[in-house]
Amino acid sequence: MRQFFLDIVTGQRSRQGLWVLPLLMALAIVAFLTVRTGHMLRPDNLLNLLAQAMPLIITAIGQTFVVLVGGLDLSVGALISFSTAILALGGPAWILIPAVFLLAGLVGLINGVAVARLNVHPIIATLAMQYIIVGVTLVLRPVAGGSVPRVVIESVGGTFLGLPMQVYWGVVVVLVAWKLLHGSRFGLHLFAIGGGVASGAEDAAHNVGVAVKRNVIFAYVASACFAAAAGIFLAGRIVSGDPTVGNGYEIYAITAVAVGGTQLSGGIGSLHGTIIGAMVLALLSNGMTLLNVSPFVQTAIQGGILLLVVAMQTRRKMGL
């Protein structure tokens, strides 16, 4: 019994990574904020928190796919801005939304082909892609503005059947991601490929007939499509196309993934871990707001707590 709990806490005998500690940390932050401010658990704050965290949650979930195969996707931030720019071009939603996913899918495909078939390091491939997308976005929309389809705005700010739309977004995104990651062959194969990369048995999955390259490409496509979804959500929230709105999301997404216990060397991690990781980051930010901490000390405190969370996530092997 003791061993059972020890295993869960240390993330051993499982490939889900060290997600329990950040969960405890998140709960501790919630408890602290509830006691200190009283606002924390109020529905309006919870919804606000969820809305604020949603783009990061979605992006980070996408990032999880590529991290699991031992890669990284630095182009997601630019892709978010790009998606908002496309949506704000003006036009019917039924054309714009599929267009966003199509273009994002194409970007993911290029990233994936560069990494899997052309042997380019993921950091280089996706960083180069980031530059390219930033440039294209600046052409499309040199400054924030444009008109976002009503449907998109309502799908973010409105309510349906008495529940705020954010809740539906959360449910849909999580269901899709869960199905892909934990409920299909594709997900299992991503773990297999990543496990091979992390342990140096790169050929193992290939040798038993897993379509390694194709799956890695799909992982990048998935990451790009989730980023596009995050872009759609953000466009609805800021009601415009904005060439800078996605700035920095790639780093936050990678941070969320890692805080959630997913190992950046590949093969170990989970969807719930990523969600927890993103929530920890969102709570840090929300907590500062609730406690009305001076902006001059916020960064230091956030960094400190982040370090605390990370310091507890001791793993068996060294690595990224």
Partner: protein, 318 residues
């Protein structure tokens, strides 16, 4: 034919990191467009622009060779810059600031290394968190006293030349040469290779794995402190924010130079040329007056193409 392919010279050529190719290409473009700019005096100044990044990369390549990463360089640079520009230490002179930068860098590097090697936490996150804390410290201090000017002598030293070569460039190349000797000649260099290739096997070969990782990080931190001094000398003002892109660019330059996590094919000069490529890329695009979006796109396309070329070549060679 196959015999020729196997000859060590050809094998080596096949493995030339993309950074050299990009550099040569850009130099040729610049030479054909503005022949008057391709001389020691002018190039010296362009190269000086990236000296802080170039120095930072020397640390980055070291930690990447032991399969780690250091994203805290930006924070170190910001903090050192703040201390110099804010007058926190009244009456302090250059030697004090040098010592301060080195102490800050070394301590941060040691902490990173200790967390990565002993506590086995994620290197990306721990160094990122450290960077955030350092930036946070600057913001906290700046809330009470925003930074001001950097003492004039920093700029004066920065502008000196030895012959026709700017001192910062010489300093950078000197450090690169030192790092190269250090990695290729000393036992420590062997340890770095061993740990990067297979930490477990390194352990069973009697390599002090944790110590190697800690030492690599500590040296990287120290180098970041030195980079901070050079960066501060290159600007005459203090600031409260630092781009998150600095460490990422350092990582990219390192990889373009043929050094990846655990692999060191490009040695020290590959990544150094990676930085030089970035410098030339900027110059060429500015000289051609590309508009900003075009610049971004061109930059991305060039980097991607170079990397694809290299990737395809190495895939064939294996």
């Amino acid at each position: 034919m196959t015999g020729m392919l196997r000859s060590p010279v050809v094998q080596r050529l096949l493995k030339v990191p993309p950074s050299y190719v990009v550099f040569a290409l850009l130099l040729a473009i610049l030479w054909s467009a503005r022949p008057n700019m391709v001389n020691f005096n002018v190039m010296g100044i362009f190269i000086r622009q990236v000296a802080p990044l170039g120095i930072l990369v020397l640390g980055q390549l070291l930690v990447m060779r032991v399969r780690s990463i250091d994203l805290s360089g930006g924070g170190v640079i910001l903090l050192v810059n703040y201390f110099i520009a804010s007058g926190t230490f009244p009456g302090a002179r250059l030697p004090f600031f040098i010592a301060l930068a080195i102490v800050i860098g070394t301590l941060v590097g040691f902490f990173n290394g200790w967390m990565v090697a002993k506590r086995r936490v994620s290197a990306v996150i721990v160094t990122l968190a450290v960077s955030i804390i350092l930036i946070g410290i600057v913001q906290f201090l700046a809330g009470g006293s925003p930074p001001g000017d950097v003492p004039a002598y920093f700029g004066e030293i920065y502008n000196t030349r030895l012959g026709s070569v700017p001192t910062p460039v010489l300093f950078w190349f000197g450090m690169a040469a030192l790092m190269w000797l250090f990695l290729s000649r000393t036992i420590f260099g062997r340890f770095v290779t061993a740990v990067g290739e297979n930490a477990e096997a390194a352990y069973f070969s009697g390599v002090p794995v944790e110590r190697t990782v800690i030492l690599s990080h500590t040296i990287a931190g120290l180098i970041a402190g030195i980079a901070a001094l050079v960066q501060t000398a290159s600007i005459s003002v203090g600031s409260v924010r630092v781009g998150l892109d600095l460490p990422i660019v350092a990582v990219a330059a390192t990889i373009l130079g043929g050094v990846a996590f655990g692999r060191g094919d490009g040695g020290v000069w590959g990544p150094t040329f990676g930085v030089l490529s970035f410098a030339l890329l900027f110059v060429v695009m500015t000289v051609f007056g590309l508009p900003e979006p075009g610049k971004q796109i061109a930059q991305g396309v060039i980097i991607l193409l170079a990397a694809v070329l290299y990737g395809v070549r190495t895939a064939k060679a294996n």
